[in-house]
């Protein structure tokens, strides 16, 4: 009886990326919060503010990316509009 080979693992690199980012972010946050850094000149420059900024920026970017794809996307290679090289 032959056994069917297991499918290739998927999502492994995403887990690794998550681990890498969580470690970097966690270490940075810990040093930022526990260090004796002076208070920043405004909220986002305060300890912990960069984590908020990073996560917030990516969330906003993802939302805008959805909107941009909905509004502005066209299939790759599709000819759109006329061109300076075109002649009647």
């Amino acid at each position: 009886m032959t056994r069917k080979p297991l499918p290739s693992p998927r999502g492994g690199v995403a887990g690794l990326a998550l681990l890498f980012c969580a470690t970097a972010g966690g270490a940075g946050l810990a040093f930022d919060l526990l260090g004796d850094a002076p208070a920043g000149f405004w909220l986002l420059a305060d300890p912990g503010g960069r984590a908020m900024l990073g996560a917030g920026a990516v969330t906003i970017l993802v939302l805008i990316a959805h909107g941009a794809r909905w509004l502005l996307a066209r299939r790759a290679g599709e000819k759109g509009g006329r061109d300076v090289g075109d002649h009647p």
């Binding site: 990326a17 966690g26 040093f31 941009a68 066209r74 509009g81 006329r82």
Partner: protein, 566 residues
């Protein structure tokens, strides 16, 4: 002691002519030799300007070396030497010559000391950029080259008009000085430089040309194209407040498109736009630290985006496209290229330990003021956006595999070596940035690896990465699909071009109708005139007319005589 006072850029221009006739084996050597010789000329000279030569009553200064242009020149010439390694992977003498010509034009523009020479050198660099695009084997490259020529023509025209107005406004000469944007001359030059740096609405040429150039051409355009514009802004318009919102818009637009597009070479071009925007905004801030940060930032951006485009070019050379939606199996087929791509992607996002971080932290320091807090936040957030766009998305896409067998198909050795050397520069500048700080015009003692600066950057990138991976796992982030995003060029190449075409047809018809009407009127007037002339030719046809004319002339003579007597 060196007595040669040649502008270093002229060496590259001469080498470009040599390369056209050189055999394949000599071309890369000539390119590297020209870069080295020019670098030697640059480093062996003391600061100062050469004596001006009078041409048509205007001073022409062919060499003017100071701390501002030296840092740009060193970056340009080192990148040129790196291109020589990468160029060995393929045969294209015209592209080699075009790259040398572009480097020569750009470096000459950095080191000349008067406006007219600057316009000439910058225009030469622009024309050579179009030549690079024409040399590309990619489909649609010819059209992209034509579009670039249109932008170059507009930029050159604005520069020339600006210089002409500057002179006619009573300026004593064309030797470099700060220009006023409120004058017509200064405004025209400013507008031309906005095209050169890729400001919003004029930014499309950057991604259009880089995405359509060859692997080496894309890297060369990334390194040399916008750099001249940033230098000129720092020279002519330091502390110009208008530059702050323009730079901020460049950061926002670049980050948005970089995170959304599927073509990663275009994405990297948008990333370059983001970092150029940081430089433009900092020049607008205008403090000595901000201007120094801008110069350092364009220096590191040149290396980083050259390295990134080289790594992406290696993918292009093997796969024919650099689309994230087609990256499946890339990490197995091209493991070294994928590693280089990820390293350079991290470098482009300002990750600690890489070149861009060294100047990104100075940029944050320079913009850390209460009234500029929004700019500070934008610069800091650009790092997170580029980390997701140029490092995380490619990493996730390249390690995706469909389960089928993937054939090992690594890029040519010269390409890997060139990209590797470029990546080495990214790492070495990032780990030991003090020599870069020493090159800046403002004496800078800055410690980027202080925990106060290092920890927040790790925190920012880590949080951004976690947020993106989680959003992706929850299917909330957009999937990689083979789509192109419309940009502002779609507007003028679509509706505006259509409207212009329609207006042209209408105008042709109006012209034709007007021509026909004029012809008809002319024919009728001619016929009437001919009839009248014929009648004049035979004035005495009628019998009564002769007597009438006789008596009328006689009466007229009597009236004249009486009038004369009175």
């Amino acid at each position: 002691m060196w007595a040669i006072t040649l502008n270093p850029g002229f060496v590259c221009i001469l080498a470009a002519l040599l390369v056209l006739a050189a055999p394949q084996t000599m071309r890369a050597i000539t390119m590297a030799g020209a870069g080295l010789l020019a670098l030697l000329l640059l480093l062996s000279r003391n600061f100062g300007a050469e004596e001006a030569i009078a041409q048509m009553g205007l001073p022409v200064v062919l060499l003017n070396l100071d701390a501002l242009n030296r840092i740009f020149g060193i970056a340009a010439l080192i990148t040129l030497i790196t291109f020589a390694i990468f160029a060995n992977a393929r045969r294209n003498r015209y592209e080699d010559a075009a790259i040398l010509m572009m480097a020569g034009g750009a470096v000459s523009a950095l080191f000349v000391g008067d406006l007219i020479s600057f316009v000439a050198a910058a225009s030469l660099a622009g024309l050579a950029a179009a030549w690079i695009v024409f040399c590309s084997p990619l489909e649609e490259a010819r059209r992209a080259g034509v579009r670039l020529l249109v932008w170059n023509g507009l930029e050159g025209l604005l520069l020339l008009v600006g210089v002409a107005f500057h002179l006619s406004a009573g300026s004593s000469g064309t030797v470099f000085a700060r220009l006023d944007i409120a004058t017509i001359g200064g405004g025209c030059i400013f507008a031309a430089l906005m095209i050169r740096v890729g400001a919003p609405f004029a930014h499309v040429w950057v991604k259009d040309t880089i995405a359509h150039a060859s692997p080496l051409g894309g890297a060369a355009l990334s390194a040399f194209s916008t750099m001249v514009g940033v230098y000129a802004l720092a020279r002519f318009f330091p502390a110009e407040p208008l530059l702050i919102p323009i730079g901020a818009a460049m950061i926002a637009v670049g980050a948005l498109y970089a995170s959304t597009v599927d073509d990663l070479r275009a994405g990297a071009a948008y990333g370059l736009m983001t970092q150029t925007g940081v430089c433009v905004a900092l020049i607008g801030v205008g403090s000595p630290l901000a201007v120094a940060a801008a110069e350092g930032h364009i220096f590191t951006s040149m290396f980083v985006f050259m390295a990134l485009q080289m790594a992406l070019g290696a993918v292009l050379a093997r796969r024919g496209a650099v689309r994230l939606s087609q990256f499946e199996g890339l990490s197995r087929a091209m493991p070294i290229t994928t590693t280089l791509m990820l390293i350079t992607g991290l470098a482009a996002s300002g990750a600690p330990g890489f070149a861009l971080y060294a100047t990104h932290s100075v940029a944050l320091e320079a913009s850390a003021q209460w009234d500029l807090r929004w700019l500070w936040a934008l610069i800091a957030a650009s790092s997170a956006a580029l980390f997701v766009s140029l490092a995380l998305r490619p990493a996730l896409a390249a390690h995706r595999h469909g389960g089928g067998k993937v054939k090992f198909n690594e890029a040519p050795f010269s390409m890997l070596l060139g990209a590797g050397v470029a990546a080495f520069f990214c790492v070495s500048i990032g780990l030991a940035p003090s020599w870069l700080y020493g090159l800046m015009p403002t004496a800078l003692t800055f410690a980027p690896f202080d925990l106060d600066r290092l920890a927040p950057q790790f925190e920012l990138l880590g949080a951004a990465g976690v947020a993106f991976v989680l959003l992706r796992a929850l299917n909330l982030a957009p999937r990689e699909r083979a789509v192109d995003l419309l940009d502002i060029d779609a507007f003028y190449r679509g509706p505006v071009a259509g409207a212009a075409r329609w207006a042209g047809v209408v105008m042709l018809r109006v012209y034709g109708a007007a021509g026909a009407a004029v012809a008809l009127l002319a024919a009728r007037a001619g016929a009437a005139l001919a009839a009248w002339a014929r009648s004049c030719d035979a004035p005495y046809l009628g019998r009564g007319w002769a007597a009438l004319q006789f008596w009328a002339i006689g009466a007229l003579a009597v009236i004249i005589l009486i009038g004369a007597r009175l």
